[in-house]
């Protein structure tokens, strides 16, 4: 019983830290990571489909390195290495470096999502378009990509949910997201278990709502196919 009253007490006193700062930063970081990841991931996917062998190899290396090393390690390297490359970053909060790392990380995954989404479109679609005399560009933009997007968007949504959870690692650098909120409030109250449960429930609620939104969206897309 004291457990529940403790949770209620913590929430009434620190709700802003959890709900506004915590969830706010978690969503912000996830949006930045997936938004930036979608943009740069698309560029990487384009580069991977290009005829230039060097470009292809470069993208392959980036993707393999990002996918083959832990995010936490990437965050450490980013936070300590980026200020050396861009001196301005050293005077800025860690969240900038963390954001860049998350964008790079998610670009690698998103590029694979986009690539496989495009490859999943039957090659006959491109052939038919080209056989009519349409350029590669027009065929890609009006026939292949619209069909690829149907494969890409659901996977991109899943990536978003993954990133929401991955942002918890950014708490290592105290950037203010949900896990940082846990560290803070635990520090004030010494009530570890209660704080963990609160944060856990919040993560669960976030991802659950997101996945429901995605499901509804997917259904709508299917109805339009």
């Amino acid at each position: 019983m004291t457990f529940l009253t403790n949770i209620a007490k913590i929430m009434s006193r620190y709700w802003q830290v959890f709900l506004i700062q915590g969830i706010g930063y978690t969503l912000l970081l996830s949006l930045i990571a997936v938004g930036g990841g979608a943009f740069f991931g698309a560029l990487l996917a384009l580069a991977k489909r290009s005829k230039l062998k060097i470009l292809k190899a470069l993208v392959n290396i980036i993707v393999e390195v990002v996918r083959g090393t832990p995010v936490l390690l990437q965050l450490y390297i980013g936070v300590f290495a980026f200020p050396l490359i861009i001196p301005k970053l050293s005077s800025m909060p860690y969240i900038y470096s963390v954001s860049i790392v998350l964008i790079i990380n998610s670009s690698a995954y998103v590029s694979e999502i986009i690539r496989s989404g495009i490859e999943a479109v039957d090659s006959g679609q491109m052939e038919a378009a080209r056989s009519l005399g349409l350029t590669q560009r027009t065929a890609m933009l009006s026939i292949v990509l619209p069909q690829a997007i149907k494969n890409i968007l659901p996977a991109l949504g899943n990536e978003f949910i993954m990133v929401v959870k991955e942002t918890s690692l950014a708490s290592t650098f105290f950037v203010g997201e949900l896990m940082t909120a846990y560290l803070k409030v635990k520090g004030y109250t010494y009530l570890t278990m209660e704080c963990l449960i609160i944060v856990g429930v919040l993560y669960l609620a976030l991802t659950y709502i997101l996945s429901k939104i995605l499901k509804a969206w997917e259904r709508r897309m299917k109805a339009h196919a």
């Binding site: 006959g124 038919a128 056989s131 009519l132 349409l134």
Partner: protein
């Protein structure tokens, strides 16, 4: 003298180590109907796909209405061979002209992948031939309609959009280009769309599918899809139609409707190349039949010659299996 529509010169196609076409040449005249038959894997589909460069030939040239669609193949001309350093070295070594040309052709001696190695005279000549004859690959393809075994209708477009997409996109592009060149244009983009839509409805009415204009291809039967695919190709007003096993993926009861459409098209004088397993149909509509075996044309002639009196033993064997 019949007007030459499509000319294929000594095409080779390799997929890695696999040699699919080993020197195929043929000429398709205007109004002619050519059927290509042969066992699976004999290279007949690859040959057809090389005609509109969906497969790029490894060697050889494709000419559409007198314009070159592929890069120049130096082996096809004595003048280009004579311009190379390889040839000059051979002649300087005491070989006579014809022997040197023969040796180069037989032993594949030209370094055509590294034109610099063959000297500036060769490079200039190759560029001259190319510049004088080549046509943009997309322009060439616009004159060739292609019908696929698996229909390949655009899944994200309605039946009508499938038909109008290419005419509208390409029509608008032509309009833009004409404006850029400073030519007087009388049409607006809206006119092009209107015309394309009218044309599409005409074509759909012709195949009796006018009430399917606004549905998506996934709701059509196989036979309906293939007929839409055929009129989609016709909407570009091509000069030649290429059919790649148009009935092979259809249920038996739908083969008839598609063949009827192709038959009426061919009867109206459309130049066509048809890869098919329908021997009766090939015999009925073709002016000329090519039998392909192992990457070459093993037998060629009128349907009577090929079907009734085949000379090539492979062709005899094949026909005895498929004609009963």
């Amino acid at each position: 003298m019949p007007e030459v529509m499509l000319e294929i010169k000594n095409i080779y196609k390799n997929f890695g180590d696999l040699r699919v076409l080993k020197g195929v040449s043929t000429t398709v005249n205007k109004g002619e109907v050519v059927s290509i038959i042969g066992v699976s894997g004999s290279g007949k589909s690859t040959f057809l796909r090389c005609m509109n460069l969906l497969e790029e030939p490894t060697f050889g040239e494709v000419w559409m209405e007198g314009r070159l669609m592929t890069p120049v193949d130096p082996y096809l001309r004595e003048e280009t061979i004579c311009a190379t350093r390889t040839f000059k070295n051979l002649v300087a070594g005491g070989m006579d002209r014809d022997a040197a040309i023969k040796k180069i052709k037989d032993e594949d001696l030209l370094k055509e992948k590294h034109p610099r190695a063959e000297g500036p005279e060769y490079q200039a000549l190759m560029k001259k031939i190319y510049d004088e004859n080549h046509i943009d690959i997309n322009l060439g393809r616009q004159k060739m309609g292609m019908v696929f075994q698996n229909f390949n209708l655009f899944n994200n477009k309605t039946v009508k959009e499938n038909i109008t997409l290419a005419p509208i996109k390409i029509g608008k592009q032509r309009l833009k280009d004409a404006k850029k060149r400073g030519e007087a244009v009388t049409k607006t983009p809206d006119d092009i769309e209107k015309e394309a839509n009218e044309k599409a409805m005409q074509l759909l009415t012709r195949i009796g599918l006018q009430d399917k204009a606004d549905v998506y291809p996934s709701t059509l039967s196989g036979g309906q899809r293939q007929r839409v695919a055929i009129v989609r190709a016709l909407a570009m007003e091509p000069d030649v139609m290429l059919f790649d096993e148009p009935t092979s993926a259809l249920d038996p009861e739908m083969v008839g409707e598609v063949l009827d459409l192709i038959r009426s098209l061919v009867k109206s004088g459309m130049t066509s190349v048809i890869v098919t397993h329908e021997m009766g149909f090939a015999k009925e509509v073709s002016d000329r039949v090519l039998f392909m075996h192992d990457g070459v044309i093993a037998e060629e002639g009128t349907p009577e010659e090929v079907f009734n009196n085949p000379k090539n033993p492979r062709c005899r064997e094949f026909l005895s299996k498929v004609l009963y």
